[in-house]
């Protein structure tokens, strides 16, 4: 059982309870101060936060020989890593977890709204129809043509990648969707988090998956509570994914 599970179920000692509360409050308060100070720095002192600051790339020069050596080293490292991953490391995600994720993804029940409405544009309708017909490659091409993706677009573009086993491309899109919650059109934010969990597991980012799964599992009203508990159990019981 997780530390935060125990926290919410009042199964920790007073000292442990206070420690978790301290961490929670600190996370919030630090975030608030950073936000407030960042605004003051920007408005009064013209100091921009890193995401708004464009740095000039540093110029550096390499001799021809150094550049060739570096390139060779990179190629050899890649070859080494690939060999190590294929030959020496076990084929994770583990079979049981992988099978679970596959079965969850097989029950494809997330469909976009296919009706034309005032907010719908031609390309979006085409993208959504291609997605609904499981033409994911085509759907992605259409989604790429939409000038400004909205909440639901991020989800279905992400899912298109996920169904094509390109979870690493699905993750940033689903993350973007979670950042935009709440938005119109999608059933519930927990479903997006759930899909993000599946993408994390497929990408072998088990710790991130566990963190998200825990949140789903600790919410009694979540429809995904049971599924999240099953996946956590499966991840924790496997020696490859257990930390």
């Amino acid at each position: 059982m997780q530390q935060l599970f125990k926290y919410f179920k009042n199964k920790l000692s007073d000292q442990e309870d206070e420690e978790i509360t301290r961490k929670l409050i600190e996370a919030h308060q630090d975030h608030e101060y950073k936000k407030k100070w960042g605004k003051i720095l920007e408005e009064k002192f013209d100091i921009l936060p890193p995401n708004k600051k464009q740095e000039k790339p540093k110029k550096f020069f390499l001799s021809k020989r150094t550049a060739l050596t570096a390139a060779a080293a990179i190629v050899l490292s890649f070859a080494g890593i690939t060999w190590y991953n294929k030959i020496l490391t076990p084929s994770i995600p583990p079979l049981q977890t992988e099978a679970l994720v596959r079965s969850y993804l097989a029950e494809k029940y997330h469909y976009p709204n296919l009706k034309k409405g005032p907010r719908e544009e031609g390309i979006r309708v085409k993208a959504n129809h291609a997605y609904a017909k499981s033409n994911y490659k085509e759907a992605i091409q259409y989604y790429n043509q939409i000038p400004q993706l909205e909440g639901e677009d991020f989800v279905f573009k992400g899912l298109s990648y996920l169904y094509q086993n390109q979870s690493e491309k699905a993750i940033p899109l689903l993350q973007e969707a979670t950042a935009l919650i709440p938005f119109k059109g999608f059933r519930s934010d927990e479903e997006i988090r759930w899909l993000l969990c599946l993408a994390y597991i497929k990408s072998r980012e088990f710790e991130k998956a566990k963190a998200e799964l825990f949140l789903l599992a600790s919410n009694n009203q979540s429809k995904r509570q049971k599924d999240a508990e099953i996946l956590i159990e499966s991840l924790l019981n496997n020696k490859d994914t257990k930390k």
């Binding site: 997780q2 530390q3 935060l4 926290y7 919410f8 009042n10 007073d14 309870d17 206070e18 978790i20 509360t21 301290r22 961490k23 929670l24 409050i25 600190e26 996370a27 919030h28 308060q29 630090d30 975030h31 608030e32 101060y33 950073k34 407030k36 100070w37 960042g38 003051i40 720095l41 009064k44 002192f45 100091i47 936060p49 890193p50 600051k53 740095e55 979670t178 950042a179 919650i181 710790e207 991130k208 566990k210 963190a211 825990f214 949140l215 600790s218 919410n219 009694n220 009203q221 924790l236 257990k242 930390k243």
Partner: protein, 204 residues
Amino acid sequence: MIITLAPSDNPEKNFGLTRNEFEILLKALQEGDEELIEVIYLKHFGKCLQYLIKYCNADYESAYSATMNALLEIRKDLVRGKIEYNNLENYFTRRAKMKLSKIKKPPRIAEEPNVDIPDHLDISLVLDRKDIADKIGQALSQLGGKCATLIKLRFYDELTWPKIAKRLHPDVPENEIERIRNTLSNKNKKQCLPAFKRILKTLL
């Protein structure tokens, strides 16, 4: 424990503040007025940032983050009365430099005494998320004034119960503080903390 800095009473090395001015602003900070941080320290944020970029070869993002994290720690130490007037500018830069070295070389868990939670789940993964920080904020605002203040003073500023009692009831005589301290501690344990957990659980 009071952190003692290199002896220097020179206002030029203390953000232009005299000892007296600093102590007035410090007392105000400990009573909830953030001027010392928001006006004085933030004014020198850029100088510290540039120092890290120029002399520590830091990129902008790491330098900004290190300076911000140093300031968060300094604020906490100021509130807890752990920093005295003495070469404050240099101290700010040194703390930022230390933070920068942690960004460059993440410490091994064994070197960080208070973060080792014996659990499969690394709690920091959950807490690093912006939306979780927002949810905790929502829970605190739903909790309401007195409990939210109590929780913040106790768990963020890490003040002792007598200090919290004095802060919330500045006009109460010393002999009454012990009684108020017990009332606040009980209120926190029996009312505020359970309510905070209950609300946060529904939000997550």
